[in-house]
């Protein structure tokens, strides 16, 4: 069953702060895939990337990763799989446009550890919180951030409609 929640944040600025210029644009099926992964792995954290052409900011290729930490409070890509992922992206002239992971008991906001270890200055860091519904259907918190030099900046998330082939699926 498809997750039908479609969060399209408007142009609302946070009061007292300048309008956020950053936007993460994701296809509906990619959004759904990230949410499904987070729900499936709950109560452990799920993690992965969405790769795209270098410099394009287009999140195109969904790559779920194994959480080698297998933990409800920590995630880490396995070191061998990490190398394979980066070699693969390199061969395709891609970069990680999105790095996502889930929080299973807390809000979808980067933890101190997330901020300290963030090492992809070009990436959108997506946080999904499954704390409310766990493995079950139901809405999740789905938020995106830039994390650069320890500074967290939230950005809008825009979901584009599913492709035509997806629409014809019953």
């Amino acid at each position: 069953m498809a997750v039908t929640l479609c969060r399209e944040t408007g142009a609302s600025a946070i009061e007292g702060l300048p309008t956020l210029v950053g936007v993460l644009t994701l296809a509906q099926e990619t959004y759904d895939a990230i949410v499904a992964h987070a729900k499936r792995d709950h109560p452990d954290e799920a993690c992965g990337v969405v790769a795209g052409p270098e410099g394009s900011d287009r999140a195109e290729r969904f790559v779920p990763m194994v959480n080698a930490a297998g933990s409800p409070t920590f995630y880490e890509f396995d070191s061998t799989e990490l190398l394979a992922l980066y070699k693969d992206m390199d061969a395709r002239d891609e970069e990680p446009v999105v790095v996502y992971h889930s929080h299973t008991a807390t809000e979808a906001y980067p933890s101190r550890t997330d901020i300290g270890l963030a090492s992809e200055p070009h990436a959108h860091y997506v946080l999904v919180s499954t704390r409310e519904h766990g493995n079950s259907d139901g809405p999740v918190e789905f938020r995106s951030y830039r994390i650069i030099d320890g500074v967290v900046t939230e950005e809008e998330v825009t979901i584009t409609p599913a492709s035509s082939t997806e629409e014809s699926t019953p």
Binding site: T73, S79, T80, L82, L83, P96, V99, S119
Partner: protein, 94 residues
């Protein structure tokens, strides 16, 4: 001949944006010292003091010819001309 070292995005501020640089050394430790000579500051991003001795940072992965150096001697991992070294920060968090 030399050793090719692939540099991750986050450390390219030390290499004038270069994705890969060359270095020399008979071990990873010597290679890192050699890199530090040409790219000052980079060593501190790769290693740290642990109980009085220098070790790789916990959340930095280094591979020699696709082998994680933690399984082949860490900083003492032997290197030869023509080897390829890849540096990748862990993708991790809480």
């Amino acid at each position: 001949m030399a050793i090719e070292v692939r540099i991750p995005t986050i450390l390219r501020t030390y290499t004038d944006g270069a994705k890969s640089v060359e270095g020399t050394g008979g071990s990873l430790s010597e290679l890192i010292d050699d890199l530090e000579g040409n790219h000052p500051g980079i060593k501190g991003r790769l290693v740290e003091d642990k109980d009085g001795s220098v070790d790789l940072r916990r959340f930095v992965n280094v591979y020699v010819n696709d082998e994680d150096v933690r399984f082949i001697g860490g900083l003492e991992a032997p290197l030869s001309d023509g080897d390829q070294v890849v540096v990748l920060p862990a993708v991790a968090g809480g």
